[in-house]
């Protein structure tokens, strides 16, 4: 019998620890498939910070370092400048990248640091129990916005790739999702381009990926898919935001 599909070699054969309906496993899978296709597993170094996605180092079959909350783009800079011929990516959540790590991501992009960032936006702090993230939507209820996020006191959700698009050093910026088949196929292409841009020494690449967090959204995985379609995508439109490859 012909094998049609198998676990990517870039992922270890280990069950994920994630909650039901969580997207991190799917996103790991897509990144790993691309690493296999580009044959870069043995030359790749991942950088994880703090949040649900940080245990990436347990699952990917490549070298990894884990650093302080929000600091992955700085640490990745240190790795990449030392090992220019290696492929370096950061895996960061929305609290990590868009709150505490804003300075590091903006300046890595401004320098045109030749690294790739995967930015997982589930509009909440997952690991700490569902607090407001910089990407939480207006009126979204979280444990720290129990009456719903309002612009008067919490400001507005941040469009990260659109913000970074103003920087000359950022040359590939895209936003994908993993809530349905089409979005998964598109997102995989964005991930691939983001890696290829680095292999071509094209500068800084970032792919934002809208992600489901049914546990902290207080809904079923099916309802979470609907929320991505009806609430998140209208505010965070999918597609390539900047492509100077």
């Amino acid at each position: 019998m012909k094998k049609l599909f198998e676990r990517p070699k870039a992922l270890l054969d280990k069950p994920f620890h994630f909650c039901p309906g969580c997207s991190h496993g799917k996103i790991y899978h897509l990144i790993a498939e691309v690493m296999d296709e580009l044959d870069i597993v043995n030359q790749t170094i991942g950088v994880a910070c703090v949040g649900c996605g940080e245990l990436a180092f347990e699952y990917f079959n490549c070298d990894f370092i884990q650093v302080a909350h929000g600091r992955a783009p700085a640490a990745a800079t240190g790795v990449k400048r030392a090992l220019k011929d290696r492929t370096v990516f950061t895996y960061q959540g929305d609290g990590d990248l868009a709150a505490i790590g804003t300075a590091e991501i903006v300046h890595a992009a401004a320098r045109g640091e030749n690294i790739t960032t995967f930015f997982v936006n589930n509009s909440t702090f997952g690991m700490t129990g569902g607090q407001m993230a910089p990407t939480s939507l207006l009126s979204q209820k979280t444990t720290t916005t129990p009456y719903g996020r309002n612009a008067e006191s919490n400001g507005f959700p941040i469009h990260v790739p659109e913000m970074l698009a103003a920087l000359s050093g950022a040359t590939y910026l895209a936003r994908g999702s993993v809530h349905d088949y089409k979005s998964i196929i598109d997102t995989k292409q964005y991930i691939k381009k983001a890696f290829i841009n680095q292999l071509d020494e094209g500068g800084f690449s970032l792919v934002e990926i809208l992600s489901l967090c049914p546990t902290n959204w207080g809904c079923t995985p099916i309802e979470a898919i609907k929320r991505v379609e009806n609430k998140m995508i209208p505010y965070y439109p999918l597609g390539e935001i900047k492509n100077e490859m």
Partner: protein, 349 residues
């Protein structure tokens, strides 16, 4: 470039680092240490090294984390407020057992303070500084020559024990010029086996400090402390100066020890037998000379450019039977020779 030069302490640190095989410098400007990044900006391209001015000290120390994880000799430098910003990263470096060099050219604080010389970061440097159970190796040079020599020593110790090493200087050591002799330029040091450099270099490697089980964190800390025990056993360094016949012992480190030596000269001219213990490693703290001298002398005097921080370590070792006196200036001011002489004479009364 010749091997003997007249240089500022800050420049000597930078040149010594290059000669010790350091090829990665990440930092952020702050007085009174900006000559270090400025020198590196010029020097690193000459040796195919990397100089990068980071967006903050927070970013700089994490760039060091990344470079150190690849097994390379990497360093940063800053001054007190900037070193405070690096403490998160230093805790992570210690937990992940990553070697690197951090140079603190201390200025008079708390808060923003001023740019005058100080030693008030002693607690921060020797007692941890950031969160958690960890230690960093701390060297205290007393001359421009030692500023240079301690750089190579700090890298060697950092890599021997896989631990961050600090050089605690001050604004005077950083700014003053003295002749300094350098060793020959050292080639890039090969990366150690534990380095994360991609699987093409061997098995999958991970460097992290994230443990979900309490026991795993405790095991890590026990492992670190076994290493710290070895450092305490093997690496204590100090200078003993005119201790043979001393009835009074002054203790001071760095710039302050130089001032104390002049005071000792003057006191000895008056027939007062005074010696100096100059700790060179601030952590591990050199207990031995204090243990030896505590049964021989009438009292100790600790002189510092702070309100008295090392004095707590001296008291810890000397105990309650022999008095430990203190004289210090702070905020960027320097202890005066006359005042040290006067203080010793008061102790005699």
């Amino acid at each position: 470039m010749t091997d003997k030069l007249l240089m500022k302490g800050n420049e000597a640190v930078a040149e010594a680092a290059v000669r010790a095989g350091c090829r990665f410098f990440y930092g952020y400007p702050i007085t009174p240490q900006s000559e270090i990044p400025e020198y590196m900006a010029k020097r690193m391209p000459q040796v195919e090294g990397t100089f990068l001015q980071a967006e903050s000290e927070v970013a700089a120390i994490n760039m060091i984390y990344g470079a150190a994880a690849t097994g390379e000799r990497a360093m940063t430098s800053s001054s007190s407020p900037g070193i405070s910003l690096m403490q998160e990263g230093i805790s992570y470096l210690a937990a992940s057992e990553l070697p690197c060099l951090i140079v603190n050219i201390v200025r008079g604080t708390p808060g923003l303070g001023g740019i005058g010389p100080a030693q008030a970061d002693y607690f921060q440097a020797t007692k941890g500084g950031g969160h958690g159970d960890y230690k960093t190796i701390v060297l205290a040079p007393g001359s421009v020559q030692e500023m240079a020599d301690h750089v190579a020593l700090a890298f060697d110790l950092a890599f021997k024990y896989r631990n961050p090493a600090l050089i605690l200087g001050d604004g005077i050591l950083g700014q003053m010029m003295e002749p300094v002799t350098f060793p020959k330029l050292c080639d890039k040091v090969p990366a150690p086996e534990w380095a994360v450099r991609g699987k093409s270099c061997g098995e999958k490697k991970v460097i992290h400090s994230c443990y979900l089980a309490n026991d795993d964190v405790e095991n890590l800390v026990h492992h670190l402390f076994a290493k710290y025990d070895a450092i305490e056993k093997n690496e204590k360094r100090w200078e003993a100066y005119q201790l043979e016949d001393a009835e009074y012992v002054i203790t001071a480190f760095g710039t302050t020890a130089r001032i104390v030596k002049t005071a000792i000269e003057r006191l000895r001219q008056e027939g007062i037998k005074v010696g100096l213990i100059r700790p060179i490693t601030l952590w591990p703290f050199p207990e031995e000379p204090f243990v030896t001298m505590r049964s021989k002398v009438k009292s100790f005097l600790c002189v510092e450019m702070s309100m008295g921080q090392m004095v707590e370590d001296v008291e810890r070792v000397v105990g309650i039977e022999v008095p430990v006196h203190f004289y210090g200036r702070t905020g960027g001011n320097v202890p005066e020779i006359d005042k040290i002489v006067e203080k010793v004479k008061q102790m005699i009364k």
